[in-house]
């Protein structure tokens, strides 16, 4: 187990190193001089030269790469050109907001997708199965930005049931200021008992979280169904039927546990995917997360900020994969010796 763990961690580190290099290469390709972008168009040659020195743009590329890696490892992710703040601080602000949204979406996905998968497996080949499968395929086919616009138009602008945009009603900052611990507003509000902000955050979250949840609900329902059907034709399911249990009991009380393993792995992978998918939704609902930060960064050709977001998401992806592999090796000992 230890050997497998070491090897797997080594691989992950290698991939992260590759990601850093690739990010660096792509960032060097971005047109426009970061020094000009930082110092402004009317900067004097001296100011420009100072900015070039500050960013280390005079060094050779390998030296720049080495410096970049060294800085990243030391926790220096550069300074954003448009917020003029350390990228790391910006990410610490924006990531928890994205996490909040995606976390809520995944909760919805599990709460809806697993029961739907069970229902489909229970009525396999019949009308409920067919309609659940078709709806799942529809859910994974929907363009998120369009769904976001549609829900926003109908339920926020139109019917007025939910707020149109933002994370919470910022006028509440005056009446009941939020004490920030985790930067995840809903969590901070919950644990400090700040009910007005909690209620406001939750109502702001409903629509964007539902939109992001569409894809995970679809894949979780499909995977749950497939895994349950696979379990339900195994020998143990036959014994359980022979002990007097009906189809529903066999599925929910016996087959569900082993069937959840692949579903859990899937959720870890869908998490990283949903973070990126959420970018588009954040843009529509003006949610102060990574997506909005990325969009602002790209608009202003903010190289360090784009690199920071890219790296963060890539590392999240590598971490999610690592977690999946480790989970599976715990479940299935044969994986370790591969």
């Amino acid at each position: 187990m230890t050997r497998y763990l070491t090897r797997r961690l080594g691989q992950a580190a290698l991939v992260v190193a590759g990601v850093v290099t690739l990010t660096f290469v792509v960032m060097r390709l971005v047109p426009g001089d970061p020094a000009v972008a930082y110092a402004g168009p009317r900067a004097s040659p001296q100011e420009l030269a100072a900015a070039r020195r500050q960013f280390g743009l005079d060094d050779s590329l390998p030296v720049q790469l080495w410096n970049y890696v060294r800085d990243l490892a030391g926790g220096d992710w550069g300074v954003s050109l448009h917020t003029r703040q350390p990228v790391r601080d910006d990410l610490f602000q924006a990531f928890p907001a994205s996490l909040e949204l995606v976390g809520a979406a995944l909760l919805i996905a599990v709460a809806a997708g697993i029961p739907l998968g069970i229902a489909a497996a229970r009525y396999k080949g019949r009308l409920p199965d067919l309609s659940i499968r078709l709806s799942s395929m529809l859910a994974v086919s929907v363009p998120v930005f369009w769904l976001a616009l549609a829900l926003q138009t109908v339920f926020a602008s139109g019917l007025g049931w939910f707020p149109v945009a933002g994370e919470y009603d910022t006028s509440l900052d005056g009446t009941s200021p939020l004490h920030v611990y985790t930067n995840i507003t809903a969590v901070d509000a919950l644990f400090t008992g700040n009910w007005p902000i909690l209620a406001s955050t939750l109502s702001h979250m409903v629509l964007p979280a539902l939109v992001i949840a569409a894809y995970p609900v679809g894949v979780v329902a499909q995977m749950t169904r497939a895994a349950l059907i696979e379990e339900s034709v195994r020998d143990h399911a036959r014994l359980e039927r022979a002990l007097g249990f009906g189809e529903t009991a066999v599925l929910t009380r016996f087959a569900l546990r082993p069937a959840l393993n692949p579903v859990l792995s899937l959720i870890a992978l869908v998490f990283a995917y949903s973070i990126v998918n959420g970018f588009l939704v954040e843009a529509v609902f003006n949610w102060p997360g990574l997506g909005r930060y990325a969009a602002d960064s790209i608009r202003s050709l903010d190289t360090p900020a784009i690199a920071g977001v890219t790296l963060l998401v890539a590392i999240l992806y590598v971490a999610a994969n690592l977690v999946v592999d480790l989970l599976q090796s715990v479940i299935d000992p044969r994986v370790r010796t591969r």
């Binding site: 390709l29 086919s141 363009p143 059907i229 034709v233 992978l269 990283a272 990126v276 992806y317």
Partner: protein
Amino acid sequence: MTAPGGIMPGLRRTPLRRVAGIDRLAVAGGALLAVIVLAALLAPWIAPYPEDGGSATHALEALLPPSGAHWFGTDQVGRDVLSRVLFGARTSLLIAVAVLVISGVAGVVLGVVAGYAGGWLRDVIMRVTDVFLAFPALLLSLALAVVLQPSVTTVIVAIAITWWPWYARLTASVAASVSTRGFVDAARCLGVPAPVIVFRHVLPNSLTPVLVQLSLDGGGVILTAAALSYLGLGAHEPTAEWGLMVQQGQSLFTTDWWVVTLPGLAILLTAFAFNVLGEGLRVRLAR
């Protein structure tokens, strides 16, 4: 953005027994897709206002609601939305086919070499694959689109770069198991050169799962391309592109719903057709 099906290849496939309705489903998906492809091919002839696929403007006819003359209404500069949706199918399908061909060929070639060779070569190829796989496709595409100037070609290149690793990974695992079969050993013993073994014997026997995955991924490519155009990083005026149409009409959603709703539905329907077809093929193959 990864493909909806792109997440699945590493996970186990279900040996489903014959499930009622499944083949009808694949047929339905295929038929729907065929209709869309036909509409795209015939767009210049069947679109009610052919010239409106391009740059024509009719200020007096702007934002007309759906009617007998304009089934899907008209957009903010008076172009027929139905015609633009039909022409948009050409753009979306072109992108989908181009991305799948480029990334499919690149992924399969690298994957089959990695799977056959094994050892250090496999390790190097797979680690490079992992690096590209770790990149959020949408982000890399965004960065590339900034470098390469927004255009349909940029979208194709950007998505293909982030798409091939899925096929490389899938092909490598299939090719590795094909390479252990008797006929490959036999060819090796007879002194057949490695490139011939790889491309004449291993490759043809490793293709089926990739082909199914490609049809599953069509929907994902369509969605990613639409998202990039929506962000202003893909097709631009006067090209008819569904994501772009949604972006340009988004402020009109409340007042003139048809401008945004119908292109969005076109994206949904096309991605859905790919997914239904791919799912049907997958289940059929697993059986």
